[in-house]
């Protein structure tokens, strides 16, 4: 096809639309730049950190070089001992020996102090270095320690992901499960997903009737109800969470009322907070609007004539609900559930405040590794696994329900 003056129609159309396209692109450019700089780059950095840690290789160049030159399993010769002694001396001078010790300590606990204490006297070591180092601390002769150092001398390592999945490498580099008493992450992942699923389900059970009321009440009442639903959004998260503490603690409003009503005895007060129950109650409350709003936006345009038609065709009110009304709300149910579940899986502050020991979720452990143990690589690996799990769920949802069947508003 060509235009009347002989130009190809396609290129004429492209020229005609170019200006509009360029303008549209320039309008979204600031947002695009903002997202890339503040979101994509930091997340990429974080993901990178999960497989990259140069705490050893950057500060122990000679030892790292020796590991690179020799095949795995080579016993340390005098050259290796010399490299180690010189590296320790330099690291002590540069005050980076702590970093090195920490990195090795991640893989083999109890080794951080070995590095720091040996490094203090490293300036006075003289050949033969093997004897000097072993004299300083006999642990240096441990082949397991050398095996571990060989592993961490490579800055790129999947070990943090292994650790996040409760696995480790043995002396020969084979992947084996962690000792039972140190397996915590997998069960915590499972618990996080179960709790998030439970919270999503309670949100659905509580939110569905409210959304239905919102969609069918006369405007005057539905507006008032909508304000009540949105009220939690306008209150600080911290205030909401702490008010649950006031309500639910053993000397709190709920327990006091139950005792006063004689339903439970003074010594039978229920532990409703600082455990899983506290996490479930407080998070259900906080995430409820995220379930109600998508449901409401789907229910609002469903005319009452559908249910009426079903009733006139001979369906009981339950059948009309199940076969005519409910299927039409599915896009809202899917959107609300996905939203609540994803938010719940990554929730941090509420479980931290009201979860006690048993109500902690995986994000609390990620925060712990970020802030307390300072093992950023492990925290990154845990976060990456969480992200991957959510993406997998998203994919499953797409396969089962179809992502077009999602209506957020």
């Amino acid at each position: 096809m060509t235009t009347s003056d002989g130009r190809p129609l396609k290129s004429a159309l492209a020229t005609a639309q170019r200006r509009a396209k360029r303008r549209a692109f320039l309008l979204v450019l600031p947002l695009l730049a903002f997202i890339v700089i503040t979101f994509i780059l930091p997340i990429g950095q974080l993901m990178h950190q999960a497989i990259y840690n140069d705490g050893f290789s950057a500060n122990m160049p000679r030892t790292t070089a020796w590991f690179a030159e020799t095949p795995p399993g080579t016993p340390p010769d005098e050259a290796a001992w010399e490299a180690l002694a010189h590296d320790l001396r330099d690291a002590a001078a540069a005050r980076t020996v702590g970093v090195v010790g920490t990195r090795v300590n991640y893989e083999m606990s109890g080794t951080r102090s070995l590095f720091t204490s040996t490094a203090r006297g490293a300036a006075r070591f003289e050949p033969p270095y093997r004897e000097a180092l072993i004299a300083s601390d006999p642990k240096w002769d441990d082949p397991v320690l050398w095996g571990t150092m060989r592993q961490v001398s490579d800055a790129y390592s999947a070990n943090f992901f292994l650790a996040a999945l409760d696995m480790t490498r043995d002396v020969n580099g084979k992947i084996v499960p962690m000792p039972e008493d140190r397996q915590i992450y997998v069960s915590l992942f499972v618990k996080t997903f179960l709790l998030a699923g439970l919270i999503t389900f309670t949100c659905f059970l509580l939110g569905f009737p409210i959304a239905h009321l919102l969609a069918t009440l006369p405007m005057k009442w539905s507006n008032l109800l909508m304000i009540l639903v949105l009220l939690p959004f306008w209150t600080s998260l911290l205030v909401r969470t702490t008010s649950w503490m006031v309500l639910l603690q053993t000397q709190g409003v709920v327990n006091n009322s139950l005792v006063a009503l004689g339903i439970i005895g003074e010594d039978g007060r229920i532990q409703m907070i600082y455990n899983q129950m506290g996490t479930i109650i407080a998070m259900t409350h906080i995430l409820l609007p995220f379930m109600i709003l998508p449901l409401y936006s789907v229910m609002r345009p469903i005319p009452p004539s559908y249910v009426r038609a079903a009733r006139s065709l001979g369906a009981t009110s339950w059948t009309a609900f199940r076969r005519v009304y409910l299927p039409q709300t599915l896009p809202g149910v899917g959107a609300g559930s996905l939203l609540v579940f994803i938010l719940a899986v990554g929730y941090y502050i509420t479980p931290a405040l009201v979860g006690g020991a048993s109500g902690q979720l995986i994000s609390n452990l990620i925060a712990f590794h970020m802030q307390n143990s300072l093992n950023w690589s492990l925290a990154s690996a845990l976060a990456a696994l969480l992200l991957a799990a959510v993406l997998v769920l998203y994919w499953i949802y797409d396969r089962l329900v179809g992502i077009d069947n999602l209506k957020l508003g």
Binding site: S305, R308, R311, S312, L313, A315, T319, A320
Partner: protein, 366 residues
Amino acid sequence: MSESHTDAFVAFDRVQKSYDGASLVVKDLNLNIGKGEFLTMLGPSGSGKTTCLMMLAGFETATNGEIRLDGTNINMVPPHKRGIGMVFQNYALFPHMTVGENLSFPLEVRGMDKSTREAKIKRALDMVQMGAFANRRPAQLSGGQQQRIALARALVFDPKLVLMDEPLGALDKQLREHMQFEIKHLHESLGITVVYVTHDQGEALTMSDRIAVFNDGRIQQLAPPADLYERPDNSFVAGFIGENNKLPGTIEDLSGDKALVRLATGELIDATPVNVTQKGQKTLVSIRPERVEFKPEMMPAGAHVIGAEVLEVIYMGDILRARLRVAGSDDFVMKMRNTLGQTRLTPGDQLKVGWHPQDARALDPI
């Protein structure tokens, strides 16, 4: 099919309905519908006609009075046990089901087996000439096709009574007229009873056996279409059905089925008394535009005539529509057939208009 049906199929007996406890939407409704009848409830919006239909379907409860179906009181019967087919204004076809599943729904909830269902669905779809569309979704159909499916769904479980709530409101004019005939034919061939709600008087006149004209929560007149058009009982019906000229005046003389009315401007005209009873009473005389004559040979002997000035003539194809100034009012309308020999009027012409006395009806003043 007179109103004195003692064994009425559907009966409204002194039915009243209030939504707020302060005012009545339906005031004292008495209506008997015979078996096999096509009855239309016609009226402006807010006249109570849809409320009556919803009470019959079971979606609203009567505040007072009794609704009977085939002799039994159904006030307390839930909608799904009434066995009434219903066609909704926007069809209400279930969007997540195919056409076939939509039709299957009423049969499934009645526990019919698969082969019976399939036979009934096929028969119903063939009835509305939609046999090839069983696997489509409602959204893939045009408005007229959806309308047919809605009709088939309301009929597939063989209800004795079918309610239709302005079912053709969303269709364009041509399709609407076509569907009017199809619904009428279905009604005749199936022998079902139909209660039809509309605010379109043309639709009501075309399709119904009887029409109940609603206004202000009451039936203003219940009559076959021709009676309703030609012999309206009161000013509301006269004004609501068809076009209508209204001349206010006072009864000058009353003798049997003839009345002499003196208009406000002094002229005398002939009329038939409808709901006036004595001399000196105020009245509103109603004359259809197509019954107004201006040629003396078309009027009965001794008819009173009245002076008129042509203000405007509109060419409408099959008819010519003239706006006249009569008795001081500027909106008196006369319609003339557009025949070869028809006199062509021009604005400014002076005429004498008159009519047969039975075409002018002296009604209650508004």
